[in-house]
Symmetry: C2
Subunit: 214 residues, 2 copies
């Protein structure tokens, strides 16, 4: 009864080919021109055959985005493990990894965070997309220490860094002719600056208005 596994392997293979084809078309001609028929053409199947593997085009693209988050998380994790144990240095390298991913996989980044794609169905858990946040938060936690309301402080600083990095990436991807070198310089300086305000002694974070209400 090994045939069952062979068939499963075969199906998995087709599924993978579909994803690969979609990604290739997206990279080559933009996500707008990705169509079920073109994918079908590419894998030499009829268009409805794809629906055996994905419920809809939207689901297919979401799966691609999910794989993107997997890869992104891996890169961030790797950046952390490859560096010394100083949390600030770790954070800088992790954000650099995020940055590098966004440009190495521009098209994946677009469906992961593109306005039109992601904002629609927030019903489902989307756990994979939350892994990066967890990774960063953990390291930020090392800097914050065991203070009161640490969770909220961590969240706040994570969002601050993420906003900055994501914004800088978006602006670069849109094509606003900022030299990449300058962007990278802005990136490291800003992240470094945010972290410094975080670990500055005497910076009583608990004085923030929204935390005040105990």
């Amino acid at each position: 009864m090994g045939s069952k596994e062979r068939i499963n392997r075969h199906k998995e293979n087709i599924r993978c080919n579909i994803l690969r084809a979609a990604l290739a078309i997206g990279k080559g001609s933009g996500w707008n021109s990705v169509s079920m028929r073109k994918i079908a053409d590419s894998i030499e199947y009829s268009p409805p055959a794809i629906y055996e593997y994905f419920n809809s085009k939207e689901a297919l693209l979401q799966e691609l985005a999910r794989l993107g988050f997997l890869e992104l998380s891996q890169r961030i994790n790797q950046a952390r493990n490859n560096s010394e144990s100083d949390p600030k240095a770790q954070l800088l390298l992790m954000w650099a990894a995020y940055w590098d991913f966004a440009f190495a996989e521009q098209h994946l980044y677009q469906i992961m965070f593109g306005v039109e794609t992601t904002c629609c169905d927030i019903n489902e858990p989307r756990t994979d997309s939350q892994v990066p946040a967890a990774l960063f938060s953990e390291v930020i936690g090392l800097l914050v220490g065991q203070v009161e309301k640490a969770g909220e402080i961590i969240q706040k600083y994570y969002y601050a860094c993420w906003s900055f990095v994501h914004g800088l990436i978006s602006i670069n991807l849109i094509g606003s002719h900022v030299p990449q070198k300058i962007s990278e310089q802005i990136l490291t300086e800003a992240i470094s600056g945010i972290i410094d305000t975080l670990i500055a002694p005497g910076n009583d974070l608990s004085k923030e208005p929204y935390i005040e209400e105990v």
Copy 2:
């Protein structure tokens, strides 16, 4: 021959109706479901009639985006004029105006900066979209003063602020459940922080690597 003007007025009116209809549909059901036929239905014309006024659907949406940039620029300008003449206070209010616009006109903001829409044709000048940058740069220039390489410093700080604000807005629009109050707090603190590093005495900006090469 005043009829010529009446006709022109009439045409301008139809053109305006088309834009209004497109915006209404976009606001109501998302930009993906905006179609020439629905617009035509809404203004009670046949679909090809729209092509008398806009060369393509893309051009129509781009015109909407252009109007968005006009409105945005107006708001930023107003924020500056309504405030005292302290450049830092001005900048904070101007970015607040940018922020408010993004949420008051979420859908406009999406076509103005949506990944898929904007990144395609950068051939044309897109002058209207560059007005905000000019407005901010002017005020940043007041803080920088008449130092060497002022232009590059201004550009750098403008991009730093813009990235941050745009990133925070994007993340909020995507729907990542950050309480808006916290976002606004992050916003003002970060912008204020960036400006402070800018006007900090002894902060020799000309020491930056990319400026060094005289």
